[in-house]
Every structure is written in C-alpha cells, then in structure tokens.
Symmetry: C2
Subunit: 249 residues, 2 copies
DNA sequence: CATGGGCAATCACACAGGTTAAGTGCTGCC
DNA sequence: GGCAGCACTTAACCTGTGTGATTGCCCATG
C-alpha cells in the first residue's frame, strides 16, 4: 500500500507541476491527492477513456500521452473541445456534472490514474485550498475553451492551427515535457482537423503553408516550431489565458 | 442591514432557481450567499462590467438583463464566448483565475450584485457543499463553451444561430423568465453576429432564412420561437449539456 | 512475399460566408 | 424641424474552405 502511494506520487509529478505553476501546494495536500488515487490504466490510440452519456464514478488524470475531449454529431462529423496532456484531468467536471456530455478519447498511447468521486468529496470537505486548486484546474479548461472559441469564430484555419501548436508547446514546457521549441506530437492530420474544426484536406494545405513559411517542421513524430515568435505573431497568440502565474488562490 | 439582506435575497431568486434545478439548496446555504452579497450596480447597453486584464476583487452576479463575455482581437473583431442571464455569475472564475483574460459587457440594460472574493473564500472554508455548487456553476459555463465550440466547428451559421436561441430560451425558462416559446431579447444583430462568429451581413441573411422557414418571429424586442421542435431538430439541439437535472452533487 | 489498410498529398470543382458599398427607416438631439 | 447616427436591409463580387476522388507510401499481417 505504501509503495503504491509512492509510485502514484511519481506519476503525479506532471499534475503537481501544473498546479504549482499557479500556486504553492503543501506536502499534506500532495499526500491527500496521492492517497485519493485509485487505479492505473493504459489506453491505445483510438480507445475511448470515457463515453458520452456515461456517469463516471471516478475522474481520470492523464499521466502520459495525449487525449482529447470530443463530441460526435449525428452526421458523423467530430469536433474536439480540448486536448489533454500529462497532468490534466480529462473529466474532473464529471465529479459534479455527473453525466458526461461528451466523450474522451486517446490520441496516442497513454496512461492514466483514476480518482473515485467519493474521495474527491472527502477532499472537498477537508482541504478547502486543495479544493480550490482542483476547481482552478477546471477553470483553466474553461479558459482554454474560450480561447479556442475566439479562434474558431475569428481566426483563419492556418492561424487556429498555429495557435493550437503554440498552446500545446507552452503547456508541455510548463511541466518540463518540452523544450527548445520541440515536442513529440504523434497525432494524425485527421485528429488535428477535428481539433481545429476543418477538413483533413484543408489541414494538409495549412500544414504545407506553415512548413513553406518556415514556421515548423513535422515528420510524423517530432514537431519543431522553427520560429516560435513569428508563429505566435501569426496566430495572434497571447499566453495570458494559460494563467501561468504562481500566486495565492 | 437586515432589510438589505432580505432585499438581496429577492434579487438572488434567479440564481437560487438556477442552482436548485441541479441540486437542493439549504436555507443556511442561501443565507450564506445572501450575506456575502455586497453592492448593487446598474449598467446600460454597451457598458463594460469587467475589463480584460483587470484583477477583480469581487465576482459579479447578473440579477436582470443580458450580458456577454467577449474578447477583442488586434484587428478590431470581437467574439463572444458566453451570454449570461439573470442568475449567472459573469466572472466567478476570476475568484481563482485572478486576472481576467477577457471582458464582460452589458447587452441590454442590466442589474447586478457583487460578491467580494474574501467572502467567497470564507464560504469555501465553511460550506463544502455550497462551494461545490459554485464550482458547478462554473462547470456549466464550461459545458456551454464546449457546446458552442462544437457548433462553431461543425454547424452552419444558421444552425448555430438557431442553436443559440434554443439555448437561451431553455435557460430563461429554467428560471421562470420565459414561457410559451417566447422571450424578450433586446439584442442587436451585430451582437448576435459576435456571438455566433459571423458577419453582421450574414446574420441578417440567416435571420431572413429562419423567418421564412417559419421558425421564428422577431420584431426587435420580443422573440417568438414559432416551432421549437423543428428549430431544435434543425440546430441539432440536445439539451443534455445544460444538465437540468436535480440530484445530489 | 503478397496484401490490405491507414495516412499523407494533390487536384478539380462547388458553395458558404466575408467584404464593400449603398440605401432605408427610425430615434434622439440641438 | 432638420440633421446625425445607428440598426437593419440588400446587392455584387470575391475567397476560404469543403467535397469527392485519386495516388503513393509505409507498415502490419497472414
């Protein structure tokens, strides 16, 4: 049991880093989280971690890999509403919303840890500050949703694509999983299309454009943002919405 | 002082109704909210309630009228990320995010009540369930963000417009501010354009289409959804994401 | 070694929605 | 009572992005 908790604590590092980028986290709070952890699970690309319409009894934290929240439409088209990395809860909102109003899928091979909702209730009763930090975590999701929304409404497909890549790079860098403007991004162009809200054909056009513009290189696995400053300017990217500021919350 | 609290309780009815659509609220919890209320303020259409980049020390609850969250882009274009009605907090997230990453504006004449963040901290320490209900309130915002995102990515302009009107009708009806498929909607076409992410010219085209299709009548003030079922079907509207289910949270 | 399926890359064509501009009608104000 | 300003309407034209189809590559599988 003790060794399991220690092991969990190791896997929780990305999440601790993510939260500690925004506020300090006490040892007792970290322990409370580690003790609330339940199962470790593994998923392959294309698997669903959580199904639309289900009523999860635990929330799922990504510990490695890429996942997406998505909705399917009656006509078969698909739209992502978020991409989640190590350290992100994919369905912390199900703790209070109860019924899932969308699905969560694995974009790459990925590992997760689950947290039973009853233990989250206990945390919400005993650790007000930690509760606020979990709340904050869902508010960051909301902030990203809003930024995506603005992009969808008012930016071109190429700008949105560029914006997404900037965002993912900064989020990975914040948890020490990316540096030197590079990161492993084993995602299919079709997935990128569903994230950005365009067709696969157009994703391809856009990527050509970004490659020829000298903005990036991407050979399947490794993505290299060759000129991040220019890319940010092109995408009108302003990182304020990521709230990467450590302060009392 | 006592009479002020009673008066506040009156204005808080829409908010209580909104939360009580999702879970029971105890008298003690209602009193805690009423006592945390601070100032009453009034705004005219076009006014800003909260400025992008500011650091509010209180959160703002709408008690009447329509407000919007929006971001301005460098090129002058604007995109809404939410529309808020009576009973909605427009910036509860600023309680934990601290710095606003967007603005909040008044779409109509509207009245609000403010809640100092320090009093919200006290609530989060003393009332775990009420805290979860406030958290829930921000999660509902997130759910609406996601629904808008899917629309922006995968629905036509006319469908998105129809979808928005369905949403607002159901939200108003849930707090007894609309019935018989009608509601007062004193919004400009330009605002609607910023909500749906299209041009004002195209809003006009879309409204013609919806009027000629027999879906709605709208003479400036009063909006009448003449055939709500058909409108919902056209917009692929599924109200699950509003989570209008009363259950323990 | 052959095969089939997934993914990236292109092309030709169609159309939803943007842009620009001009005109109408209403309201409020000096 | 005339004028300025704003919201709405309509038109002509342009373009970004979708659709459908085809090709070639790579890799996994039998």
């Amino acid at each position: 049991m003790t060794s399991q908790i220690i092991e969990a604590a190791e896997l929780l590092q990305p999440m601790f880093r993510k939260l500690q980028q925004r506020d300090e986290l006490g040892d007792e709070e970290k322990r409370a989280i580690a003790e609330a952890a339940d199962q470790r699970l593994v998923f392959a690309p294309g698997d669903d971690l959580v199904a639309d319409g289900s009523r999860p009894e635990h929330s799922t934290l990504v510990t490695s890999g890429f996942t997406c929240r998505y909705k399917m439409l009656p006509n078969g088209s698909r739209q992502f509403t978020a991409i989640h990395l190590a350290g992100d809860f994919v369905d912390l909102h199900s703790f209070l919303l109860k019924e899932m109003d969308h699905s969560v899928g694995a974009l790459s091979h990925c590992t997760v840890i689950t947290f039973p909702h009853e233990r989250l209730v206990t945390i919400s009763q005993r650790f007000p500050h930690l509760t606020r930090m979990l709340w904050l975590s869902t508010l960051l999701d909301g902030a990203m949703h809003r930024e995506w929304l603005v992009g969808m409404g008012r930016l071109s497909a190429a700008q949105r694509t560029a914006h997404l890549l900037c965002e993912i790079y900064l989020r990975l860098a914040a948890i020490n999983l990316a540096r030197d403007n590079q990161f492993n991004f084993p995602i299919t162009q079709a997935s990128l299309a569903d994230a950005v809200g365009i067709s696969t054909v157009h994703v391809n056009r856009v990527l050509q454009e970004l490659r020829h513009g000298g903005y990036l290189a991407w050979d399947g696995g490794m993505l290299d943002l060759l000129d991040l400053d220019r890319l940010k300017a092109f995408a009108q990217f302003d990182e304020t919405y990521l709230h990467l500021v450590q302060e009392p919350r």
